[in-house]
């Protein structure tokens, strides 16, 4: 194109180069650039981002070096060792197991399930919302009735019932069961935005010029609501940490020999543990609180980045 242009105009190559650079500088910065500027403008957000990413990497890598079956062996000698004793920086539980090691493996399991759940349920919710919002009429009506029905189900109860039915479940089946019940919020949000987008001129023009409907949905509309998708996915990740840990706390999530932040907090169910041996459950509880706050804070920053009128970061 550049050669074509040079042939038919008398602008020199140097000028063209300069003009192109100027135009690029004036153009809207890329999404990644905007988000990064937003983080740079907000120091707590930057700290949250490093804490969350660093922590997730740490437990994912750290858990690789821990021999879980060996760690879960009971050793009565170390029964309720206090924190800061030799070999037990955070103490030990009733089985003499190191709380620190359990915390690392438990975080890996809980965060892993939350990540898996977020990926599956968000993907499903986004597709559901896009399709339901774009094909209005009977398709939308039917999909909305399914949505209504899912919203009516007592979620926690249904998950517990399903978990008891499945005989040999593991982290993967658990994630799938949770995913059945956690896509509705996303789908509702995406649907309402898709409804608005599909009424716009570009969608209509694309349809008139003969573009396939599916291509319009996933190639035209989806990129246009991508910022909403990023924000929603981050916020549901924070929420999903509470889903698995909550169920594991009740005793219907990961089995008790697989450590999870939830099963660790379940130590508090024993009135003796809750006061006398507080170190068996409090670290896990605090970790969940900090993680959820930090991830949601990142979500808030992303939301600001998505809305030009709220941005605090300045383009450099």
């Amino acid at each position: 194109m550049a050669e074509n242009f040079a042939q038919h105009s008398n602008i020199s190559a140097a000028d063209l180069d300069r003009l192109t650079r100027e135009a690029q500088a004036e153009a809207t910065p890329s999404t990644a650039r905007i988000i990064w500027n937003e983080f740079k403008a907000d120091r707590p957000a930057l700290i949250s981002l490093f804490v969350v990413v660093g922590f997730i990497l740490f437990v994912m890598v750290g858990a690789l070096f821990i021999d879980t079956p060996k760690m879960m062996e009971t050793n009565i000698v170390n029964y309720f060792n206090r924190p800061l004793t030799a070999g037990f920086p955070l103490g030990a539980d009733a089985g003499g197991r190191s709380i620190l090691l359990e915390l690392i493996v438990g975080s890996r399991n809980s965060i892993g399930i939350a990540l898996g759940l977020t990926v599956i349920s968000s993907t499903f919710g986004i597709c559901w919302g896009l399709i339901s919002g774009y094909f209005s009429g009977y398709v939308d009506w039917g999909m909305q009735r399914v949505y209504d029905f899912m919203m009516m189900l007592p979620m926690t109860m249904m998950i517990i019932v399903l978990v008891t039915i499945i005989p040999h479940y593991n982290a993967v089946t658990l994630t799938l069961i949770f995913s059945i019940f956690y896509w509705e919020g996303t789908s509702r949000l995406i649907r309402s935005r898709t409804l608005a987008e599909s009424g716009k001129d570009y969608a209509a023009a694309s349809l008139t010029s003969g573009t396939n409907r599916w291509k319009i949905i996933f190639r035209d509309i989806m990129p246009n609501i991508s910022s909403l998708i990023i924000v929603d996915t981050t916020l549901s990740f924070a929420e999903n940490i509470g889903v698995e840990t909550g169920l594991s706390y009740l005793g219907f999530g990961l089995p008790s020999q697989t450590p999870s932040l939830g099963t660790m907090i379940a130590n508090a169910n024993d009135p003796n543990n809750i006061t006398q041996y507080w170190w068996t459950w409090l670290p896990a509880a605090l970790e969940i609180i900090i993680l959820c706050l930090a991830i949601s804070y990142i979500g808030q920053v992303l939301r600001r980045a998505a809305d030009a009128s709220q941005r605090q970061g300045t383009a450099d």
Binding site: L153, P154, M157, I160, V161, G242, L250, I274, T275, A285
Partner: protein, 319 residues
């Protein structure tokens, strides 16, 4: 108006039917038969066989389902195998506790959320608004069960201000003490539930107030010289009251879902704790009944909210 309500009611019928079939099939799929545990392990297999047959456990599922539905309409939810008493009586004994706690939590939630929402909107962008926004952000993010555990640890065990188990103290005599003891038992779970359940109402009310502040009718009232306290109380607040009331229906769903956690943490004998115990003992008549009741309560809550909203906003009505 009536058309909307009628249509909502008609949609409810298939929903309830599908829910009941789903619940029934799930209960059937649960491992173990209802006689596990209640029968001597040395019992004659022939006798167990006979019992199963007598209770219709060998019939095809749709027949069993039909029997179950017929019984349901007679108010017969079956017998609990764990407690050896009719499920309807068992649940009736527990439902009161759960509903009282839910009602108490909801009243506290509104009592805290309404002033906070108006206050935040009135002082938009100032310190009180920032404080309330940080509060709603924190309470929104943290999983509720973690708060319950930390709450019972701090206020129940360390400080000893509140009882940590049950719904009533065994020493309570007379009606005054009974009511007082009930109240102290639901105070901590109710307060925690309310403190962490205000987000939606506060945020909605805040944005309503901010919108109303710049509207013509408020400016008219201001120029007429109405004191700003009266403007907030009589004009703005009253206008947002109905949509706020609509939240009550939706919050039933949240409170019921939360009751499973609240009642487990506080060993509070309501339907949530009954559900958890029934799961452990595979008491599937109780499980089926509870899932069905919770589903129907959710449905009624949404119905209530939808009706209130269609009263408020004519655009939602179907004509």
């Amino acid at each position: 108006m009536w058309k909307t309500i009628l249509r909502r009611l008609l949609i409810m019928i298939p929903e309830v039917i599908i829910l009941s079939i789903l619940v029934f099939l799930l209960a059937k799929a649960m491992p173990g038969d209802p006689f596990t545990g209640s029968i001597n392990p040395k019992a004659d297999p022939e006798q167990i066989h006979h019992l199963m047959k007598l209770n219709g456990l060998y019939d095809p599922w749709y027949q069993q389902y039909w029997h179950w539905v017929v019984h349901l309409f007679h108010g017969n939810l079956g017998n609990s195998y764990q407690y050896q008493e009719p499920v309807s009586r068992l649940i009736a004994g527990r439902a009161g506790n759960t509903l009282w706690l839910a009602l108490f939590t909801m009243i506290l939630t509104y009592a805290m959320a309404l002033p906070m929402g108006v206050f935040a909107g009135r002082h938009e962008g100032q310190l009180p608004d920032t404080v309330i926004r940080v509060y709603t952000y924190v309470t929104y993010c943290i999983p509720f069960f973690v708060i319950l555990v930390i709450g019972i640890w701090v206020f129940g065990y360390i400080l000893g201000w509140f009882p940590t188990t049950g719904s009533i103290s065994p020493n309570a005599n007379g009606w005054a003490q009974t009511i007082g003891s009930h109240l102290t038992h639901i105070l901590l779970p109710g307060l925690l539930g309310a403190l962490f359940g205000t987000v939606n109402i506060v945020q909605y009310l805040r944005s309503e107030v901010i919108d109303a502040k710049h509207s013509d009718y408020v400016r008219t009232a201001q120029s007429k010289g109405v004191p700003s306290k009266d403007i907030y109380r009589h004009h703005i607040f009253r206008n947002s009251l109905l949509p706020i009331a609509a939240f009550a229906g939706y919050s039933i769903t949240g409170l019921l879902n939360g009751s499973i956690f609240t009642e487990t943490v506080f060993s509070y004998p309501g339907m949530g704790l009954l559900f958890v115990n029934s799961i452990i003992y595979r008491d599937y008549t109780v499980i089926t009944a509870l899932v069905l009741i919770y589903g129907i309560l959710n449905l009624l809550g949404t119905l209530l909210s939808d009706i209130i909203l269609s009263l408020v906003d004519p655009r939602i009505r179907i004509d």
